[in-house]
């Protein structure tokens, strides 16, 4: 039996095994669709393409929620240095509020002394990507870049100000330390299907935390991060 013949035979056997299982499945299991589920299915049927994109963006939100974990690791890694730098140590204690096995909550209590958040841009975008959306508040800026095939790169940065907090859950990811210029950051390679990879780094001098989410590998993401520049006025 050749490998192709074996694959064909096993494929058939797997299909028939599924068929047998289906025939013997109990019929008293009642799936009672919720209103939200029906709404989602209606949206999906109306435009599968768009629905899938929105679902993927929700995954992005989930990924962003993990960023605080990176910060904790970042802080822990620098613990030795921080002992020698009182200002930095103070900043750490202001960030780290609560940590347990399943999630971490950060709160930042530094008084807000920033008059206006500067504008930053990724200057080294891959080919055909361009900025499609930018939203900003006093302490947070989010920028979206998109290419002609619909791939998206999300770039955001936050001023680490009083009242900032993040409560996140930890899930399967491979974490690598990366250098973003002379700043230290971390790269999250998500092992979850549909999740974006994330790179984050902290510019302590300007009290900014940067985050980029995209489906790119570590070297591409690092290159994007290094290319982030403050807009010239």
């Amino acid at each position: 039996m050749t490998n192709d013949e074996l694959d064909l035979a096993l494929r058939q056997a797997l299909l028939e095994s599924l068929q047998l299982e289906q025939q013997s499945a109990p019929s008293d299991m009642l799936f009672s669709a919720s209103t939200e589920y029906k709404r989602q299915m209606k949206k999906m049927l109306h435009n599968p393409h768009r629905w899938a994109r929105i679902k993927a963006m929700r995954t992005r939100k989930y990924v962003l929620q993990r960023v605080a974990v990176i910060l904790l690791i970042f802080i822990t890694a620098l613990a030795g240095t921080l002992m020698l730098i009182p200002d930095a140590r103070a900043a750490v204690t202001r960030w780290l509020s609560k940590w347990n096995e399943s999630h971490v909550t950060f709160k930042y209590t530094e008084p807000n002394s920033l008059a206006e958040l500067a504008a930053y841009t990724i200057t080294g975008l891959p080919e055909t990507f361009s900025e499609t959306e930018r939203s900003s508040s006093e302490q947070l800026v989010s920028v979206q870049y998109q290419n002609d095939t619909g791939d998206i790169i999300y770039f955001s940065y936050i001023y680490m100000h009083d009242g900032a907090s993040t409560d996140i859950h930890i899930d399967a990811s491979e974490i690598s330390s990366v250098a973003v210029g002379n700043l230290t950051g971390f790269f999250f390679h998500s092992l979850q299907p549909d999740s974006l990879n994330t790179i984050t780094w902290i510019d302590s001098e300007n009290q900014l935390q940067f985050v980029i989410d995209a489906s790119l590998d570590i070297s591409e993401m690092t290159a994007l991060a290094v290319s982030v520049e403050k807009n010239k006025k």
């Binding site: 694959d7 058939q12 599924l18 092992l191 974006l196 995209a214």
Partner: protein, 171 residues
């Protein structure tokens, strides 16, 4: 990953086909998800994740015979449900291969044996042979390494090949 391979669903014809597939099979898929998860919210999550997979791999639907399409869909939703189940329990039991010493005398006992394969092993086989996913895609989907995917597939195929050949069992 956010980048979605949705080009195959761009045309109106393909959207009509997608709607037809949904209308024909969603109830069977929902029943499958619910029978595994026994929780309405989880079953709905599994269904939505399953359709994300269907949309993403929709070009595969064109290569599968109509009579087999339902089993392709069941395989997808079943594996999405098992993924949720694994996350919920947070315990991954060791794979039990002891039943592989069982006597397999005919084709139906082989089908029974396949139905009792360890979950991740069977999922990897289904994704490879029914859905046509690459080892990398399977690894990402099951959250295991590509090596682990390859090991599972090779192990199962080697044993099943031996059975098929030694017993003269063919579908």
């Amino acid at each position: 990953m956010l980048a979605l391979l949705l080009a195959s669903l761009d045309s109106e014809t393909e959207q009509v086909k997608f709607t037809r597939i949904y209308q024909m099979h969603h109830k069977t898929m929902e029943a499958k998800a619910f029978s595994i998860l026994k929780n309405q919210q989880d079953a709905e999550d599994a269904m939505q994740n399953a359709f994300l997979q269907v949309i993403r791999h929709f070009e595969k639907a064109g290569t599968i015979a109509d009579s087999e399409l339902i089993f392709w869909l069941i395989s997808i939703v079943k594996n999405e449900a098992l993924l949720i189940l694994r996350k919920r329990t947070r315990v991954v039991p060791p794979e039990d291969w002891s039943f592989f010493t069982s006597d397999v005398t005919d084709y139906y006992s082989l089908l029974d044996l396949i139905s009792r394969l360890p979950d991740t092993c069977r999922a990897a086989l289904e994704m490879k042979l029914i859905c046509g996913y690459t080892n990398k895609e399977i690894a990402s989907y099951l959250q295991i390494s590509e090596t682990a995917v390859s090991t599972r597939i090779t192990r199962a195929k080697t044993f099943l090949k031996k059975l098929l050949e030694s017993e003269g069992i063919y579908p």
